[in-house]
Symmetry: C2
Subunit: 312 residues, 2 copies
């Protein structure tokens, strides 16, 4: 998957990923009204809004970005109807030729991790394999150690997928545990980084990057550059661009000398771009999904162009 | 929730929790055949098996144990049909008076954690609150720090729920990160333990335990006793009993002097107890759900009696 991702990034000359993290507040009021009329004021209605909204975003950016990254928490929040919207989103994005990075942040002991690895491997029922999740990669936690990660690594090898292990996250509290100094003075995240590198050692692709990648937050500029030098074969998934405060200049150091080795995610900055335009126009009453898509497309192009400037 | 859990443990004189972690291999062949006939050899059929199987287990142990702990990975593996079985399981268990600990091991940055906290808080749609998950508590990862935990703590306070933060897990690889020595020589898990204690400081219930509990694996006997002394107000959820190798003697030190402050989970040891009996009887062809329930009930009573001996 990392080789395919790299190729797609080069074809499009764009290392940007669009985060599909819908909220009810992000839905234009016309869409809300329609779904409430059809399904009542229910989680089902919200799931239908999210699925329709995401189809619009996907259609608007599928020729611009190599991948989308739906954040499953935003869907799980609405129970089964939300999860259904998530699955329809991954299915639709995959059908439109986008790579899908499921931001699921799973992590559990070995036997359970094997079950979670079905996100990548699919599942067998009496000899027939099903792939309910349609994800090309997922994000996972490192806290439980090697045997919690290996089932995902095996799934990556066997099914051409990838996994991104959290090393240093973009949030303010990331330091509480990740920055603890270990006995040799290296922070915990640097020790995790070494482990991630080991875990991915024997699945390095033709482009020099392993199927075992890492999540490194854009909000930590120096850390990103440090980890880039420490991990020459580890592909980075970089959240925190845009709404979380980091800009193109901040992520320059996350890329390798050739401008490869990383994708940068923006969620609200793309999907909620229409809200900025609609301010003052009555809260989106007259906003169509077409307007939503156009604003997302414009924002995605702007992000692409900014990233091109810094990694050129 | 921790007060209610404590009361229920005292009423039943039993700190055992039954893990609902179904696998296809664990389904008796009669049940498999029935569901394959009705739904084809599909994830849907497996979800229906899991839901029926779990109803049997819940009915068989609801007057013996205070709580069940479904492991969501075993359901997610089968996609939407699996998640549907999970939700029907939590709903059914709650309706039968059991407390439900959702073993979901979520964890993400603040805004996303808020979405995940809907597992406990439910979700609002235009002013009306829905509770799709029916969980009284969930398990979460600590790696992202305080702001990833606080939305769950808030949900606990506002909705009478609890959260169990991973401190030291039961698996072999748990040492990779959790046992790293920090600068002051304390292992990472001990630093996490201190944080968990802080995070739960202002929601300690009438029985002396906080709504912010911890996961501490039964396979680490000494660590459990050490953490018990370190964390007098932190309730422990203790996995790893039975199939993972720990016995009643191993978990004695996880309890406080009064025999409180912890629940011990067994999954396969209870739910797959029928498989041991059925060995030699043709792989369960003649095994009914009633036999499955009886074997689970007997195993749950045996576990209860063993735990009573050591914490008496």
């Amino acid at each position: 998957m990392i080789d395919r991702l790299t190729e797609r990034i080069e074809q499009l000359n764009n290392p940007a990923v669009v985060g599909l993290d819908p909220t009810l507040e992000m839905m234009p009021s016309g869409l809300r009204r329609e779904m409430y009329e059809r399904f009542g004021r229910t989680p089902k209605a919200v799931g239908e809004m999210f699925a329709a909204f995401n189809r619009t975003i996907v259609d608007s950016v599928s020729d611009i970005v190599p991948a989308v990254k739906p954040q499953i928490a935003m869907y799980e929040r609405y129970g089964l109807d939300g999860v259904s919207a998530y699955l329809r989103t991954t299915d639709y994005a995959a059908a439109r030729g986008l790579l899908v990075i499921g931001d699921v942040k799973r992590g559990d002991i070995a036997s359970t991790a094997e079950a979670y690895a079905a996100h990548l491997a699919g599942v067998e029922v009496e000899g027939e394999r099903f792939d309910p999740w349609k994800e090309d990669a997922v994000t996972i936690h490192p806290y439980l150690g090697a045997d919690s990660v290996m089932p995902f690594v095996d799934a990556c090898k066997n099914f051409g997928k990838a996994v991104f292990v959290l090393i240093k996250t973009s949030n303010a509290g990331s330091g509480d545990i990740q920055d603890l100094r270990t006995a040799g003075d290296a922070p915990v995240y640097a020790r995790v980084a070494r482990l991630v590198s080991e875990w991915g050692r024997d699945c390095i692709g033709t482009r020099g990057y392993s199927r075992v990648g890492a999540v490194v937050g854009a909000t930590h500029k120096e850390t990103g550059a440090y980890l880039r030098s420490l991990l020459p074969h580890t592909f980075f998934l970089v959240p925190g661009y845009g709404a979380q405060g980091a800009g193109a200049e901040d992520v320059r150091g996350f890329f390798d000398a050739a401008g490869g080795g990383a994708v940068v995610n923006s969620s609200r900055g793309i999907t909620a771009a229409w809200l900025k335009r609609a301010t003052g126009s009555g809260g989106g009453d007259s906003v169509s999904l077409r307007d939503v898509g156009q604003a997302a497309r414009d924002a995605a192009i702007e992000m692409r162009d900014r990233l091109r400037e810094v990694i050129a």
